[in-house]
């Protein structure tokens, strides 16, 4: 294959990576932005979305596209409900104290992971893509499903942007983010905003999980890498900044593919993790972020 089609293929693959990463990282980012808490169990919500897609595909009757559509609706709703439960049972009770939140979401991470291991088993499970039309280019055939992932991501990101910028719910969220106590005094139900934001964050990860299953299989440990990568994206993009998160997800998703081509996967991970740790040490506002509010 010549260089040009090779680069095209690498770019397409990178775009698919970037899409899934954008959704997962946006979930982590809005939770951190509004609630100022780090959710270590975020990767498990991603994993539960993927496992949910497998469960839907094997339990629901009907053609593949129908069960997949069912999974795309039901898995995020279930994960969202679980997130609301976790918020009510844990986070609210420790008053969203940042350090206690990290410790308790580590606990939640272990619980979700091991519950999945007990019920779902240790083996990776595959799900057929909802449709298997192949797009022919002069050089290679490309799965249309992967482009569908990119499309769904774009739709969700636009919808989320509209929700945050144009709707009343978004206004309440931004008010809470800006100043929680004043928002409370103005009658904004901060507790409900928090539990809603936590649910939306988890649902975004679950959607990403559902989308990735047909090209990557589901297993109970798959939440680990998306969690670390999402951390990377949120930090590089500037904590709490949504456009920054999207830009960083595209940058990192695209370059992750290239980096893995040039270096061994482990070496690529070492390089990117070290880089991000150093960004956090020397430029804590992120590469795209503005410095803190004066």
């Amino acid at each position: 294959m010549d260089l040009a089609p090779f680069l095209l293929l690498a770019a397409l693959e990178g775009l698919v990576q970037a899409s899934v990463l954008t959704l997962t990282a946006l979930g982590l980012s809005i939770v951190f932005g509004v609630m100022r808490v780090v959710n270590v169990a975020h990767g498990e919500f991603f994993m539960l979305g993927a496992v949910g897609a497998y469960v839907c595909a094997s339990l629901l009757p009907g053609p593949a596209w129908l069960t997949f559509a069912g999974a795309l609706v039901m898995a995020p709703l279930c994960v969202g409900a679980l997130a609301i439960l976790a918020d009510w049972a844990m986070l609210k009770r420790i008053n969203y104290n940042p350090e206690a939140t990290i410790v308790s979401t580590i606990g939640l991470m272990y619980i979700l992971q091991q519950m999945t291991l007990i019920t779902f088993g240790p083996n990776a499970q595959a799900v057929n893509p909802p449709f298997s039309y192949t797009i022919r280019t002069p050089w290679f055939g490309y799965s249309s499903y992967k482009l569908f992932i990119v499309l769904v991501t774009i739709v969700i990101v636009i919808a989320l942007w509209q929700l945050l910028r144009k709707s009343r719910i978004g206004l309440l969220m931004r008010a809470t983010q800006y100043d929680k106590d004043t928002a409370q005094n103005f009658g904004i139900p901060v507790a409900r905003v928090y539990s809603g934001v936590f649910a939306v964050g988890a649902m975004l990860a679950a959607i990403a999980g559902v989308l990735i299953v047909p090209i990557r299989q589901a297993d109970y440990l798959m939440g680990h890498d998306p969690l670390l990568l999402s951390f990377v994206v949120v930090i590089v993009g500037g904590i709490g900044s949504i456009p920054g998160t999207i830009a960083a997800a595209i940058l990192i998703g695209m370059s992750d593919g290239l980096l893995s081509v040039m270096l061994s996967p482990t070496l690529a991970k070492i390089a990117s993790t070290l880089l991000v740790a150093l960004v956090l040490v020397f430029k804590p506002e992120g590469l795209f972020g503005k410095s803190a509010r004066q």
């Binding site: 844990m90 940042p98 350090e99 990290i102 272990y110 619980i111 930090i235 070492i270 070290l274 040490v281």
Partner: protein
């Protein structure tokens, strides 16, 4: 009437006496468990110095444990260094590593500090896997028979003997316990607690809080390295799981359960959790779920841990 710190010292000495005597009455499998408990209690005591006393919550202490383990183990494996010198080499290496990481990580605070320590630890873990031709990767390395014994003060100490392992672990444990006692009860210990309770006020009073945190971090990382070196040399095996995320969570769990910021809390937490995990992993592979539940229960209802609660309710001197 005894002074509070004298009472605590007496309690520590009593605990040490009981630990020493236990080896004569316990069956041999339990002696092995107790050896492991003492080694991990050293790890947890190191962690507690930073997390419990200074208020800095690190999610990456596995890296210092692993540096101690690998530096001492590799020195013995490749250079054939006598065990005693390998042990010292491991401690020196973890002191150097924790100094380097302290300089970087202490530029950040709270949540960023947790993530940065987590990431550096992840880098250490991945590096062990990457350089598997030296480290043995996830298979690990088993130390050769000739580095399983060493001469010390005219005696030959054999690391395959149950009693030798126990007593070496006991001596190091006792040394670290008395060192932490001296550090936390002395003037420096009060500075650590001052930083934990109110850093800006401590600074306002004219103390350099950065230096205080730096010393606490290095001390904590080095003690974790002592535990790692001890673990590798006593059991003759060095493996990558010592550096993974789970091994950073364990000292946190042990310290939280026993009581953060109490001298004997790490020992209590390590003993309870090790016995529990050993019992559970006998009949389920999903024993991590219990760790998860306990982490949540501790943060929700018992944030001060067992000894922390006992201290607040009944015995103010039990710091």
């Amino acid at each position: 009437m005894m002074s509070p710190s004298k009472k605590l010292l007496l309690l520590c000495l009593a605990v040490l006496a009981v630990l020493f005597l236990l080896q004569f009455v316990m069956p041999s499998y339990f002696v092995l468990t107790l050896t492991r408990i003492m080694i991990f209690a050293i790890f947890a005591m190191g962690y507690n110095l930073l997390m419990g006393y200074t208020g800095l919550l690190s999610l990456g202490h596995a890296m210092f444990f692993a540096v101690g383990l690998y530096a001492s183990g590799l020195a013995s494996y490749y250079w054939g260094l006598p065990l005693f010198w390998s042990f010292l080499f491991g401690i020196a290496a973890s002191a150097a590593a924790s100094t380097l990481i302290a300089f970087l990580a202490l530029k950040t605070q709270t949540v960023a500090f947790m993530i940065v320590t987590l990431m550096f630890s992840q880098v250490a873990y991945l590096s062990i896997l990457q350089f598997s031709h030296v480290t043995g990767g996830d298979q690990g390395l088993t130390l050769p028979p000739e580095s399983r014994s060493f001469g010390f003060l005219g005696m030959t100490l054999d690391m395959t003997s149950e009693a030798t392992r126990y007593n070496i672990a006991f001596v190091v444990f006792a040394a670290v316990l008395l060192l932490t006692y001296a550090v936390t009860k002395g003037p420096f210990g009060r500075l650590l607690i001052a930083v934990r309770e109110n850093e800006s006020r401590t600074e306002m009073l004219g103390f350099n809080t950065y230096v205080i945190k730096l010393v606490a971090f290095v001390l904590s990382g080095t003690i974790s390295g002592v535990a790692g070196a001890l673990n590798g040399l006593i059991f003759g095996y060095i493996g990558s799981s010592s550096a993974d995320f789970g091994n950073s969570i364990e000292p946190l769990l042990f310290t939280l359960v026993g009581g953060a910021g109490t001298l004997l809390g790490p020992l209590v937490g390590t003993a309870l959790m090790t016995l529990l995990i050993d019992r559970l992993s006998g009949f389920t592979t999903a024993y991590l779920i219990v760790i998860g539940i306990i982490l949540i229960v501790m943060t929700l209802w018992l944030p001060k841990g067992i000894l922390g609660t006992v201290r607040d309710r009944w015995a103010k001197w039990l710091n």
